[in-house]
């Protein structure tokens, strides 16, 4: 019987990766590193090309420490947004409510932090408040999507309008100047080793999401749903619950991003969220998060954001016509999506 078993299955060459993984702690770490590189080599290559083009075109200014600092700082808020929304794309859906949620969270921050419109001054309590608010709106989007069975893009479109309207309503359509200097220093400063604080926050959340995605039940379930929702359900996964959780998490990220946005500008208005959806989606697509679902991790979201930020920073530096920059962004989005489509799963977005 042993002979039969031994030569029946084709001999699979032990891949060097597997060998590494078996080789103790160090080998395992090395293997993880190589797998990481393997997954995002395309993105790293694109980043390298962008740096090359703009580095040469700008006579080296692009790659100066000051500029790198600027790029990283520029990528901070979009990275948070992208970290939030990419998980919804992984599940095969879309979230058009980004701008509305950021609007309402931004306005609420404006009204609750020290400002010259009312006498509120909640200071650091704003953090749990904005997390709760963003999460609640996300929860709502998730519930509409799962219970009313509306495709995600329609459900979130409705949420977008409603909360954008609320934001306008409670802000009276005006901007609210924020006078809490602590936050502004925090957001624009670089307290540790000269690295922008916003970047550190970004990295922190990156790690949190990586852990969520590979080391929690819900994270794995998310990828199963994106891969094949019916099979996921058959395996006993509570699909609705997972979807609602992911939407809520996304809302939380929107809220945190909104907080950073308004404190950086020192002013809150409903329109603070405008034009943020498109870069977030582009960043996800460029980073390698496939629109057909099931593929893409936090690293893809963050890398994609860095690439887009670098691209835009470079275009500004080279004085490209701002309108042309928009056109370029559009081309990049379409190309990125076209390259990551899984032909076998084409169909309406869920």
């Amino acid at each position: 019987m042993d002979n039969v078993q031994a030569d029946a299955l084709p001999k699979r060459p032990q891949s060097y990766l597997t060998g590494l993984k078996e080789g103790g702690r160090a080998g395992w770490l090395l293997a993880q590193g190589l797998m990481f590189l393997g997954a995002v080599w395309g993105q790293l290559l694109s980043l390298a090309i962008v740096c090359l083009i703009f580095g040469i075109g700008s006579g080296g200014r692009f790659l100066s420490p000051d500029n790198i600092h600027a790029i990283v700082g520029l990528a901070g808020v979009p990275a948070l947004l992208c970290l939030g929304v990419h998980q919804i794309v992984v599940m095969g859906g879309m979230d058009l409510s980004l701008e509305g949620v950021v609007a309402i969270c931004g306005v609420v921050c404006g009204l609750l932090l020290k400002n010259n419109v009312n006498s509120m001054d909640v200071g650091f309590w704003i953090l749990p408040i904005v997390v709760a608010l963003g999460g609640a709106v996300g929860l709502l989007s998730g519930i509409i999507h799962t219970k009313l069975k509306m495709p995600s893009f329609i459900a979130t479109l409705g949420v977008q309008w409603v909360f954008f309207g609320f934001a306008i309503l409670i802000s009276g359509g005006r901007s609210i100047p924020i006078q809490d200097a602590r936050f502004q220093r925090l957001v624009t400063g670089s307290h540790i080793l000269g690295i922008p604080n916003l970047a550190l926050v970004g990295v922190f959340f990156w790690l949190v999401f990586e852990i969520f995605q590979s080391r929690t039940k819900t994270g794995i379930a998310m990828y199963a749903i994106g891969g094949d929702e019916t099979l996921a359900r058959q395996a006993g996964i509570n699909v609705n619950r997972v979807k609602v959780i992911v939407f809520a998490i996304c809302g939380v990220m929107y809220g945190i991003a909104a907080l950073f946005l308004v404190t950086r500008l020192n002013s809150a208005a409903a329109r603070v969220g405008n034009l943020l959806l498109f870069p977030a989606m582009t960043a996800a697509a460029v980073g390698g998060v496939s629109l057909t679902g099931g593929l893409g991790r936090a690293r893809n979201a963050v890398l994609g954001t860095v690439i887009i930020s670098a691209l835009n920073n470079g275009m500004v530096m080279m004085r490209v016509n701002p309108y042309l920059q928009e056109a370029v962004n559009g081309i990049v989005l379409i190309t990125a999506v076209a390259l990551t489509i899984d032909r076998k799963k084409l169909g309406f977005i869920k």
Binding site: I154, F164, G172, M281, V328, I331
Partner: protein, 319 residues
């Protein structure tokens, strides 16, 4: 007979429009003045022309979010061509061709490459807007449009603007096309069940491609007419129009699920939306309130459409 009439999908927007018109004429003495009616026409005609395109896409089961940028492009290109001294027919021809080209791009991305319609048309919107705005220079003095160009926007025939006649002509033509020709019917089948229509031998990819091309053409036409009316292109042309058209088309009987809709429905839906805007102006509502009303309309439309779809799928055992 009344029962049958009520079940037609155009009934709802018709009733809504009539009700709103009645309400407005009661609420404001200015409603029936020729100035107001003219402005209504000027708002309905180009938007309706664009909505026809959007409706074509909805019937096949898709939608086009780039029509705003095509309209803008058309307007700005008209100005540019005029600056170069082209004659009116030439301007119109080239602008329409440009719109057709963008429509073909949309069609290629969605029908041939299979890119999700939402992303593809949003991307093209950005690309179109970006390219269009490079033509925009607020400081430059533009040549005044020649008389015959302005006449396109200003001229009247039997009390209605030329553009209204154009819209009516397209309405009738498209209506016939959709109801009484093979290709028109195919649109509905492709939207209704894409797989089945493919197995019957309909070239669904070509049909969808042509829909997008037509939408581009129509959006460009609307842009030309609009710029002829205001006699000078602005950078705000086409802003938010895709939202208005989408709402108008769904009110008019179209559905995100595809396979439904009509030209008349689109026109009536646009009428309703224009009356809504008219109401905002006549009653001098502030912008916040306007946004709320539009938002509520959008949500109501989405909810009702979604609910009807759900009911239908349950009844047929698909859920």
């Amino acid at each position: 007979m009344p029962g049958k009439l009520a079940r037609k999908s155009e009934f709802v927007p018709l009733v809504l429009s009539l009700a709103l018109a009645a309400a407005l004429s009661a609420a404001s003495g200015v409603f029936w003045t020729s100035a107001n009616l003219n402005s209504l026409q000027a708002s309905i005609a180009p938007t309706a022309i664009m909505a026809f395109g959007m409706m074509l896409c909805l019937i096949c089961g898709y939608f086009d979010l780039s029509i705003g940028s095509i309209m803008l492009l058309a307007g700005l290109l008209s100005g540019k061509f005029n600056d170069w001294g082209l004659s009116t027919p030439a301007i119109v021809l080239f602008v329409l061709l440009a719109g057709l080209a963008v429509g073909c791009l949309n069609g290629f991305l969605v029908a041939v490459l299979g890119i999700n319609a939402l992303i593809a048309t949003i991307g093209v919107q950005y690309i179109g807007y970006g390219f269009a705005m490079t033509l925009w220079d607020r400081n430059m003095q533009h040549r005044k449009f020649p008389g015959d160009f302005i006449a396109m926007g200003d001229g009247q025939f039997l009390g209605m603007y030329y553009m209204t006649w154009v819209m009516l002509a397209i309405l009738v033509g498209l209506g016939f096309f959709l109801k009484y020709t093979l290709s028109g019917r195919r649109l509905y089948y492709v939207g209704g069940n894409r797989e089945a229509s493919r197995l019957i031998g309909f070239n669904d990819r070509r049909i969808v491609f042509l829909c997008y091309a037509a939408t581009g053409l129509l959006a460009a036409l609307a842009g030309v007419l609009a710029v002829a009316r205001i006699q000078s292109p602005t950078q705000y042309m086409g802003g938010g129009v895709h939202m208005t058209c989408m709402i108008a088309c769904v009110i008019g009987g179209g559905s995100f699920a595809g396979g439904k809709g009509s030209a008349l429905g689109a026109a009536l839906g646009v009428t309703f939306m224009s009356l809504l805007t008219n109401m905002f102006n006549l009653l001098e509502m502030n912008t916040q309130l306007q946004n709320v009303v539009v938002g509520l309309t959008l949500i109501a439309v989405i909810v009702v459409d979604g609910y009807l779809n759900l009911k239908k799928m349950r009844a047929m055992g698909m859920i």
